[in-house]
């Protein structure tokens, strides 16, 4: 005799979504442990490097912010918030924050506009035969040592013999004091920094542009949109994650800018950050406090505040980005 098996009700006949379950066989705990071991094993080298060169120094920095501490003096003394009190009592500290802020606020839009513009031009050139050469040319400054090229820029900005003033004069503009005036010293550094970092951001934007589907631009053309409108309404929104990334990167790099300022405004001969502290950014002040004035704990406190500022800026940007950045 045959029995008619009842069909499982619809919806039960399929195993629940996800991994198929094998009844009665638990995943051997041993194997899971082995998986974990492998995972941690693979992570270990990176974690080790991070721990030794990042986490420990960072933690130590926080630690000495609350002590009176010197490289040579073995006597460390807990001083509580004394370093913070002294820091906030220094007008130069606030001035350096303002200088860094000014520098960063100019650098972000300048970086975005310039690198996006160059990327857009280069993208057209990619189809042309020499596209690769141009891309390499734009990227080249980024791989040169900052200090070395900054010295060239010092020459360019030389008030009497420099190329910058020569160009200004030849188009009928007045020559500028560049590195020797408080007004133009920081802009001179900005120009050097832009030149140096442009290639990196151009490459990032080129990658972002390559991710904008070609058909969307074509369909917008068929829709009758002009170039400007296509850029504004189609390319720019789709590029927003890239732009956001560039903004974050530019913020961090600008707020931490050091080498080019140090090299252009004084270098090894001292007096970096001048004239009259006009180029003394946060990062430079940290360096000088530690290595010129030997006040390590105060410098650590300053670095801590610097870190807090960058973190805050990034969070604010992230918060803004949630409203304006479109992720596909």
């Amino acid at each position: 005799m045959t029995t008619i098996e009842q069909a499982p009700p619809i919806g039960r006949s399929l195993p629940p979504s996800g991994a198929p379950r094998v009844a009665g066989v638990a995943r051997p705990a041993l194997r899971r442990a082995k998986d974990h071991l492998v995972a941690y094993g693979l992570l270990f080298p990176a974690m080790a490097v991070f721990t030794v060169f990042f986490f420990i120094p960072a933690a130590y920095l926080v630690y000495i912010s609350f002590f009176h501490w010197g490289v040579l003096s073995s006597a460390t003394q807990f001083v509580g918030l004394e370093n913070f009190r002294r820091l906030f009592a220094q007008p130069l500290f606030f001035r350096s924050i303002a200088t860094s802020g000014y520098y960063t606020l100019v650098m972000i839009p300048a970086t975005v506009l310039l690198s996006l513009g160059v990327a857009l031009v280069l993208r057209e050139a990619v189809t042309a035969r020499r596209g690769g050469v141009w891309r390499a040319a734009v990227f080249l400054p980024h791989v040169t040592p900052v200090v070395a090229t900054s010295i060239i820029w010092v020459w360019i900005f030389n008030p009497q013999f420099g190329l910058a003033n020569f160009v200004l004069k030849s188009v009928g503009l007045p020559a500028l004091g560049w590195l020797s005036t408080t007004q133009w010293a920081l802009p001179a550094v900005m120009i050097d920094s832009l030149w140096h970092s442009l290639g990196l951001y151009v490459i990032i934007f080129l990658a972002g542009l390559a991710n904008v589907p070609r058909e969307l631009v074509e369909v917008a053309r068929l829709d009758g949109a002009k170039r400007g409108r296509i850029f504004r309404r189609v390319i720019w929104p789709l590029l927003s994650p890239t732009t956001f990334f560039v903004v974050i990167l530019a913020t961090v790099n600008s707020w931490q800018a050091f080498s080019q300022i140090y090299a252009m405004t004084g270098g090894p001969h001292g007096g970096a950050g001048g004239p009259a502290f006009s180029t003394t950014t946060d990062a430079l002040l940290v360096y000088q406090t530690a290595f010129t004035f030997d006040h390590f704990s105060l410098a650590s406190t300053m670095a801590l505040v610097l870190f807090a500022i960058i973190l805050l800026l990034t969070l604010v940007q992230k918060w803004i980005s949630n409203k304006v950045v479109f992720y596909r």
């Binding site: 053309r221 068929l222 829709d223 009758g224 309404r233």
Partner: protein
């Protein structure tokens, strides 16, 4: 609406001519389907009509206006891409209104905006996507995305409507449904339409005019029924139909009233006397025109073979068989029932004379039936 004319259109990449001299006139309001195998230049042709690719040579006219150097935004074409190309960051409503706002002239802003809104709603209702107007494309189903793409192309009232395999991303059921909807849509909005596909079901059902392409050239253009019934070349014969026409080459010289080669026998009635010169020909018979016949008896065309595979597809049965004689020639027959056929059975199929197609073996061109017809009428 526009009348589209292509005169000897060529597109070359380097020295490779991917579209190689296309002549085509599309009357106002017609639905033309470009059909052909992958890589035959269908998309390229469509993109040239849209202005997204420059033509290398030849002339293109819309309503008698030369279009060769007109940019896409000034051609008045709407296009649906294979992957829809909806703006992912805009809602469906914004996707539809983008084009309208792009070309909006001066005048009262508020009034213009109200007009845009009304037009968007009208098209959305027509396509039954009015309830998802404020959704982003990724929140839509495949069919809704497809409709949104159609809507975006139609909302501006294009003179020419271009579709590049618009249904290929849909599942089989939805594809059939959308195929009917497209047909209905074209009845309601009779815009000059060029539709690219490599699905012959779509091509045969949708087209007013079917254009079969192969290697950058047009093989045949005409009403779908005619193209199917009288394929102009051996390629079209083999490409159209599922499965395509059986084609066997009979090598010359072939003489006389009847011809037999490698299991294929043709009587004078099917054969005619037009190849008396002895050139090789290609004989073609559609699978559905092959009938199982007992041996002997009168036969205009007879094919002897050995059954290889019998496929039962529910509504019909496909019999795959190997022809007798040398070579690896094979046959597919579409029967209503399997008639008890099994692998290894020796059988003979026959076909009526009017279902036997002859093609020139060298050029692939159809050999007209005039001679054969005349002869048949004389015999009867």
């Amino acid at each position: 609406m526009a009348r589209v004319e292509l005169h000897d259109i060529v597109k070359a990449y380097g020295n490779q001519r991917v579209v190689d001299g296309i002549d085509l006139v599309i009357e106002e309001g017609r639905f033309v389907v470009l059909l052909g195998p992958s890589g035959c230049g269908k998309t390229t042709t469509l993109r040239m009509i849209a202005g997204l690719e420059q033509v290398t040579a030849g002339e293109m006219y819309f309503d008698g206006r030369l279009m060769n150097h007109e940019p896409p935004e000034r051609r008045g074409v709407g296009m649906v891409f294979q992957n829809y190309a909806l703006y992912p960051h805009m809602t469906v409503a914004d996707n539809l209104s983008f084009g309208l706002e792009s070309q909006r002239g001066r005048g009262s802003r508020r009034k213009a905006r109200a007009q845009v809104r009304a037009r968007v709603l009208e098209i959305a209702r027509l396509l039954e996507i009015d309830h998802v107007l404020d959704h982003r494309p990724k929140e839509l189903s495949g069919g809704q995305r497809q409709r949104a793409a159609l809507g975006r192309a139609l909302v501006r009232d294009p003179d020419v409507f271009l579709l590049d395999e618009p249904l290929s991303n849909l599942d089989a059921n939805l594809r059939e449904k959308m195929r009917m909807e497209l047909s209905r849509l074209h009845d309601e909005l009779p815009v000059t339409t060029v539709y690219v596909t490599h699905d012959q079901g779509e091509a045969l059902t949708l087209a007013d005019q079917l254009v079969v392409m192969h290697e950058g050239k047009i093989c045949q253009a005409g009403q779908p029924g005619d193209v199917y019934a009288k394929p102009g070349t051996a390629f079209v014969a083999g490409f159209l139909g599922s499965p395509g026409m059986n084609l066997w080459e009979l090598r010359g010289p072939l003489w006389g009233e009847a011809a037999a080669a490698g299991g294929v026998h043709l009587s004078g009635e099917a054969w005619g006397d037009h190849v008396g010169g002895g050139a090789s020909v290609v004989v073609g018979i559609r699978p559905e025109h092959l009938k199982l016949l007992p041996e002997g008896g009168p036969w205009p065309a007879r094919v002897e073979c050995r059954v290889d595979v019998v496929e039962n597809l529910g509504s019909h049965v496909l019999v795959h068989a190997k022809l007798h004689g040398a070579g690896q020639r094979s046959l597919v027959a579409k029967l209503e029932t399997s008639a008890g056929l099994r692998r290894g059975d020796r059988v003979a199929f026959s076909a009526h004379a009017e279902h036997v197609h002859l093609f020139d073996a060298r050029t692939g061109a159809r050999i007209t039936e005039r001679v054969a017809r005349d002869r048949t009428s004389v015999d009867v």
